[in-house]
Symmetry: D2
Amino acid sequence: MTRPGLILKLQCPDQPGIVSKISGYVAGYAGNLIEFAQFTDKLSGRFFARLEIETGGLEVEVEDFIEGFGTLGRALRAEWHFRRLPYRMRTAVLVTRTDHCLHEVLWRTKLGELPVEITSVIGNREDCRSVSEQAGIRFHSVEMDGAAREAGFETIRGILHDEKVELVVLARFMQILPDAFCREFEGRVINIHHSFLPAFIGANPYKQAYERGVKLIGATCHYVTADLDAGPIIEQQVERVQHFHTPQDLVRLGRDCERAALARGIRYHVHDRTIIDGHRAIVFPD
Amino acid sequence: MTRPGLILKLQCPDQPGIVSKISGYVAGYAGNLIEFAQFTDKLSGRFFARLEIETGGLEVEVEDFIEGFGTLGRALRAEWHFRRLPYRMRTAVLVTRTDHCLHEVLWRTKLGELPVEITSVIGNREDCRSVSEQAGIRFHSVEMDGAAREAGFETIRGILHDEKVELVVLARFMQILPDAFCREFEGRVINIHHSFLPAFIGANPYKQAYERGVKLIGATCHYVTADLDAGPIIEQQVERVQHFHTPQDLVRLGRDCERAALARGIRYHVHDRTIIDGHRAIVFPD
Amino acid sequence: MTRPGLILKLQCPDQPGIVSKISGYVAGYAGNLIEFAQFTDKLSGRFFARLEIETGGLEVEVEDFIEGFGTLGRALRAEWHFRRLPYRMRTAVLVTRTDHCLHEVLWRTKLGELPVEITSVIGNREDCRSVSEQAGIRFHSVEMDGAAREAGFETIRGILHDEKVELVVLARFMQILPDAFCREFEGRVINIHHSFLPAFIGANPYKQAYERGVKLIGATCHYVTADLDAGPIIEQQVERVQHFHTPQDLVRLGRDCERAALARGIRYHVHDRTIIDGHRAIVFPD
Amino acid sequence: MTRPGLILKLQCPDQPGIVSKISGYVAGYAGNLIEFAQFTDKLSGRFFARLEIETGGLEVEVEDFIEGFGTLGRALRAEWHFRRLPYRMRTAVLVTRTDHCLHEVLWRTKLGELPVEITSVIGNREDCRSVSEQAGIRFHSVEMDGAAREAGFETIRGILHDEKVELVVLARFMQILPDAFCREFEGRVINIHHSFLPAFIGANPYKQAYERGVKLIGATCHYVTADLDAGPIIEQQVERVQHFHTPQDLVRLGRDCERAALARGIRYHVHDRTIIDGHRAIVFPD
């Protein structure tokens, strides 16, 4: 949406009349509902929604509109979130050695596909410095090997706070995040795992895939939780492989899955098209 | 939906407050909105919606609820349609020689995937008689060769009227429907074309695909209009092929695309998940 | 291949000149090499090949040609196998309740896509009897519950021996094969597992997939070994799913993956397009 | 292949014993056959092959080995081509405005996925200059509008000759090549067309796709011939779309198809994995 507007994300216990109440609130102040995606989980009895509202014709101030929604939101026992548009999300990218995912994020950002403001790239190796700097993005080098690991994460936390980062993208960052870090940034860290989760959890998934002789490999973009590789999945991509593909070929073919899955995952997140529901992610794709 | 309910399909010019008005009508009589899929076509300024409503708790008679909607529908200058659930759509299948699509429809119907009542199978060859009769479905043999063609279509029209058929499925029926027939059953005839339309319109698409050396073949399920192979597309499926596949291999691999695309296309139609909009079909998939 | 011919499958340690020696043997007796697929595994140093040979113009008897190959085969320290064409493989299908995979196998066999002779269907429930008998295939009912399990497998073994079965297809057969059975029929039992292995090993994979919130589900056709769900994979198929799909929807969508993966897996096996190499299967697709 | 070696591509009329003769020649001088992909087109009676030969242990000079093959090649009435490895193909990229395909080629080249030496980027607009120069590649600006078109192509010819270019990649180059140019560089110009050919030939395919309401869009990588958009297809990629995708969305989603199809097409060409056969391309994928 290029015109001024709002995105409302909401979840609450299901009850009859919810859609009418919410859309009635919007219509009551002459908001123009551009998109209203909903999902009622019949198994859990929960309701999830994403609204895109043009506010050009609103009969009240946008701030007032947002505040006024609280009465309805509380009545529905909802969790909700408004985002004012246009918006560019402040995003840091964490990397180690390989730069294909970083490249993809930088390229799509420059093209205007991802409404993010990349605040900096943070690496525990120097490999991605030149790619970052060539794109005009500051690169922080953070030592994390061995005993330096704990202090390294403190340094990263500091950078994220200093730069007011809202989204952390792990673009093949080869370090396991400490639990406290996961909790602090819950729902705001996106990882790309180089396998079709939950197959091949952990290290060296392409080698595992080769040894298992699978006929499809994949990549998984997910929210990071303290439970390694078990966070809510946002997007997955697969590619067909054959017996003649070596582990190196799987790495090569897998890169394309990783880039595609990560780019889509980030896009869905920054457009507020995801709602986390326990171990799962509701995704309203575009 | 297995409990009593309604599906409402609707299209009208877009205007602010539509969602609120429609959902408000449902909520006003304590209808329980199970699903409310919408789409606003920003290019054409039209609004499309599909509602699934549980009517167990309705505070008025279902007939009254349906009739009462007319006031709102007319105010919105809408075209709309209510369907009472549960529903099984009376469906005739037209065939010629090959039986794989017929097989698929019969099998999925028996399994409960397609809520249809197959009234009969109509063929201009005898090849599909045994498959039909083995499934307990009446088979009509209609002569259509050469001069018999016009009378043949009259016979088919008669059968469709006698059997109160609501949906006609062309399951590899190798006859072009007369224009008058297309108009009479507009929006109620689904065809499976054995190519990835609009590539390879007309006869022998697999041979055309072979000669062109494409790397993917496909099948297209679409509504039939007087304009051959140009009706609104409901679903398409593709399959990767290589240089070593002969035209016969393409036929074999294409069968799987055809079966899958036709089955989904029918499913979307009988669940009222399609709305025709000129040359295009809005499809709310499940 | 419809003309008289041979398929030769072979594996041996790699060495220079193998292709020349093998093709030289064929050419030496005026065999016409229709297809010669090979694969050299650079990691393990093994060579795998599949040859399709027209024998119409052979200058020796086919039996002699086959026997004569032994000298070369032994010199190459190879394992090899000749199959005379045309051939229809004697195949038994084991089932429990659901019949979609059985249906697919019967349908493709009838259509001529699978060169198999279905000797019988064996079920530990009665559900698939009518489908089998309608197709003119004998149905054996074998009691396998609780204490009857061991005797049940003995009964099955007896049937397989009596009917000279060469291939056993587990078409959603919900019993774990005893180790001795797996060993006896090694490389001759094909299973369809209703998940994208190695994800969701074991029971109820669609429920597991739902709870994990994956965005793609799949099915895996593999050879059965004593190590449950870990046998060499022949074929995998996936289907995209979304948050609104219930476990029941995953079952429905997964059926299409299962049918497609099983049909292809059987086809590759009966056309001798697979070579088992430890935990992996070499597959030369057509 | 990183060790010294040869790739031999060959096509000729089929005859018994071909594989034996060719592999016998290689083995006769102790060449190590790493890969021998063949295809016999039973419809046309032609034989196609690609051999990868390690030459480290050759008992003759490589030049001699290549020359000596001529006797056999002529006896087979073959067209053939040897390539000495390692090899980097001198490649020019032609562009107009959009840079996503150029970006992809540059990125994959840098990563080592494509063994090419990019000699320069040639554009009839300035848009791609900075991307090229940032990657250290010379950018030629060539005026081609209106009356300048003919002279522009002469300029391009001159650059291609000066830079000894072997492969021309049209990376969304929005000019139709003159017939004489097509003939001069026959089999050495690769284009990416932004549709699933042969659907939507010509201008603005995404708009055409939108209006036709297709459910899958695609991109096609093909050799350029004088017959617009009808050259031999090397690779195609598709992406699923829905009714809510605007023409702009199709452009966005299509970019990913274009990048993937072009990258694979170039890879197959520079690895000599393609053989042109009239309107079709034989592709031995890796």
